[in-house]
């Protein structure tokens, strides 16, 4: 299946993909792994506009055509 991807902040330097191809049943963590984005560098992931807390990334199953946004951590300033 194909999932749409957008990254924010400096994560653009780690990942310029606009989509990722995954096996059926893949979760958010698997998508991050496929994209090569270290989990420590992720502030928040949203799927179709809904926030996915860190603890749910391993269980949140993605579906065909989902839109995933990988947000950089915030640091103030």
């Amino acid at each position: 299946m194909r999932v749409g991807v957008k990254v924010t902040g400096h994560l653009i330097d780690l990942c310029s993909a606009t989509h990722v191809d995954l096996d059926e049943g893949a979760c958010v963590d698997a998508a991050l792994g496929a994209l090569g984005i270290p989990p420590a560098q992720v502030g928040l992931v949203s799927v179709n506009g809904e926030a996915v807390p860190k603890a749910k990334r391993a269980e949140m199953v993605l579906r065909e055509s989902d839109e995933m946004v990988v947000m950089a951590p915030l640091t103030g300033g």
Partner: protein, 605 residues
């Protein structure tokens, strides 16, 4: 050791200038910079004093690590009673001025009284004097910097000055040093202007001595390497890299916080600054570092010469300070403007006239809402169409406010007083009278608690709840990270180092550097305890000034109107849930007053 052991007391009423020994007991308990300045303020003035009167005290304080070889060691803080809030004001800055003050042999500069006529303070080695500033009054920050260096034939002077905004009482005037770094928030420049003190020019030649040079070099070298692994994004993109994250998150305050996402965000974000347009123009020229900094998050930008703001004004055809996240937010989304050159020009004007961009932008946003409601009209606004999204309104009003002309005089009051004047206090997006930064607290719940309990009013820099806020968008579990990070940030702000290192360094890393630098044994526990003491002393100042629990609140829009979109769609800030838990964790009464036990534990009784 890298305390210089000396402060300078300047009485502007009498003209007396007197060096004094640093109170080492206070330095050991309050570290330096923000903490030490707070202690000196507490001991030297009545918190009930009029912030614009001669009894207010204005302090410029460095930290024990300021001016050393540690990364980001250029920090100093300005501490006083603030004119926007009537609360304690502490605003810090980078650049080179702080280190230079330290090199001149002073940990802290304490200014009291009021000069009858405008003056500036000149410190050139051992020669210290108050100089007439008649010829400087009415000059911009940039003109003042140039004039002082030329007059004293000393291009090595480092200068902190106010612009015309500070002279004329704009409530959120800043102190600008090194042309475009600023102690920007809380009206510290307004207090400087009320004292008829135009500038402080300093050249020092003493250097600093650290306790254990060999260990200090080894530790700070290790810390620089650690920092480099964590801050590459800041170096390349600056703080404005956060704009698209806030947009996707749904926490980007838009059109006076009526919305939380801005359709034009990508025209004013970090990537837009790097983009080359059809004429070959790129907004961002380069990045820039403050003294000793290995991050270099500062932006240097320029504006298209054919842009309406500068096409007939060659004096602005130069490079200058570019957009940071907060300036981009304050001249972009919160007023609905997506013109990067107009935003950049407004940023120039803030530095030139000496004003806080956050307070100006959020005040302008409230004025735009008043205008669109019909409460104010073109007759009030000198004929300017004050609608959301109008870049000309932004730049015209920035100049009018800086010079205190026409409707600029109203904008110079700040959002709270302006909205009260027009009978709509609910439109003022402030806490204790200070305007919000670029984070909507319906999406960032802990940020809302930090805003509400901020000792200097709404502020995003005195706590760090981002991680907790991004992971859970309810009020649950936010009191603890808010309280802990407030204490920790107070310690960092007192060290002489920049808070942008906090993503890479925790308490042990700060303590290791301070311990190699400074007399006494510095541990993570001691630093954290000092931070809690500092936070509570600031609170005591505010309570003595007359503030109460009722001031620890948020505007009704954030408490009652659900976020209209984004990942927190439908949510309001849950302050009622968080605040009692926060007071309890702090060891404060239900009314937000530190208990005797708490004061005793912190050595504040």
């Amino acid at each position: 050791m890298s305390w210089q052991g000396k402060i300078l007391r300047v009485n502007l009423t009498s003209g007396d200038i007197s060096p004094e020994p640093l109170n080492m007991e206070w330095a050991n308990d309050y570290i330096g910079e923000r903490g030490l300045g707070t202690k000196y303020l507490w001991e030297n003035m009545d918190p009930k004093a009029d912030p614009m009167g001669p009894d207010n005290v204005l302090i410029f304080a460095t930290g024990p690590l300021t001016g050393t070889g540690a990364s980001t060691s250029g920090r100093y803080a300005v501490i006083t009673k603030g004119p926007l809030t009537g609360a304690i004001a502490c605003s810090n800055s980078g650049g080179k001025f702080g280190a230079e003050l330290k090199f001149a042999g002073f940990d802290l500069l304490l200014v009291e009284g009021r000069s009858e006529k405008p003056v500036y303070l000149l410190i050139e080695g051992d020669e210290i004097s108050l100089q007439k500033a008649d010829k400087l009054w009415g000059k911009t920050v940039w003109e003042t910097d140039e004039w002082i260096k030329k007059t004293h034939h000393n291009p090595l002077l480092k200068i902190a000055t106010i612009g015309v905004a500070g002279e004329r009482g704009v409530r959120y005037a800043s102190v600008v040093n090194d042309l475009h770094r600023a102690a920007g928030r809380s009206g510290v420049g307004t207090v400087m202007g009320s004292k008829n003190l135009k500038a402080i020019a300093v050249r020092g030649t003493q250097g600093v001595k650290v306790k254990d040079p060999k260990r200090f070099m080894a530790v700070t070298d290790e810390m620089k390497n650690l920092l480099a692994k964590h801050t590459g994004g800041l170096t390349k993109y600056g703080t404005n890299a956060m704009m698209d994250t806030m947009q996707e998150f749904g926490g980007l305050p838009t059109r006076n916080f009526k919305e939380v996402q801005f359709e034009g965000y990508d025209k004013v974000d970090a990537k837009a600054m790097l983009k080359t347009d059809e004429t070959g123009h790129t907004n961002l020229l380069t990045n820039k570092a403050c003294f000793g900094c290995t991050i270099a998050c500062g932006r240097i930008a320029h504006i298209r010469k054919d842009h309406f703001t500068i096409q007939n004004r060659k004096e602005y055809w130069h490079a200058s300070g570019g957009l940071e996240y907060e300036t981009a937010f304050a001249f972009g989304p919160v007023i609905g403007v997506d013109d990067i050159d107009a935003c950049t020009f407004a940023g120039y004007l803030m530095n030139e006239h000496g004003m806080d961009p956050i307070s100006f932008g959020v005040t302008l946003a409230a004025a735009m809402e008043l205008y669109e409601m019909g409460v104010i009209t073109k007759e009030d606004t000198d004929g300017v169409e004050l609608t959301f999204g109008n870049p000309e309104a932004l730049t015209i009003m920035a100049e009018k406010t800086g010079k205190q002309e026409g409707f600029g005089e109203i904008l110079g009051l700040g959002s709270k007083l302006m909205c009260e004047k027009y009978g709509h206090p609910e439109l003022s997006m402030t806490v204790k009278g200070q305007e919000f930064a670029g984070y909507d607290s319906r999406a960032l719940q802990g940020m809302g608690l930090g805003y509400a309990t901020g000792n200097r009013g709404a502020c995003h820099l005195k706590h760090d709840t981002f991680e907790a806020d991004m992971d859970d968008q309810t009020g649950a579990g936010k009191a603890e990270p808010c309280k802990t990070s407030q204490d920790w940030t107070a310690a960092v702000d007192s060290s002489g180092l920049c808070m942008f290192t906090m993503g890479a360094w925790g308490a042990p890393e700060f303590a290791a550097q301070l311990d190699a630098d400074t007399e006494g044994e510095w541990t993570a526990e001691r630093l954290t305890h000092c931070g809690e003491r500092i936070w509570n002393l600031e609170r005591m100042f505010n309570l003595a000034a007359g503030l109460t629990k009722a001031d620890d609140t948020l505007p009704p829009r954030l408490l009652n109107d659900p976020a209209p979109s984004g990942t927190a769609k439908g949510k309001v800030n849950e302050l009622d849930r968080m605040l009692p838990e926060y007071y309890d964790l702090r060891g404060w009464s239900e009314d937000g007053v530190p208990t005797e036990d708490t004061l005793g534990r912190l050595g504040l009784r």
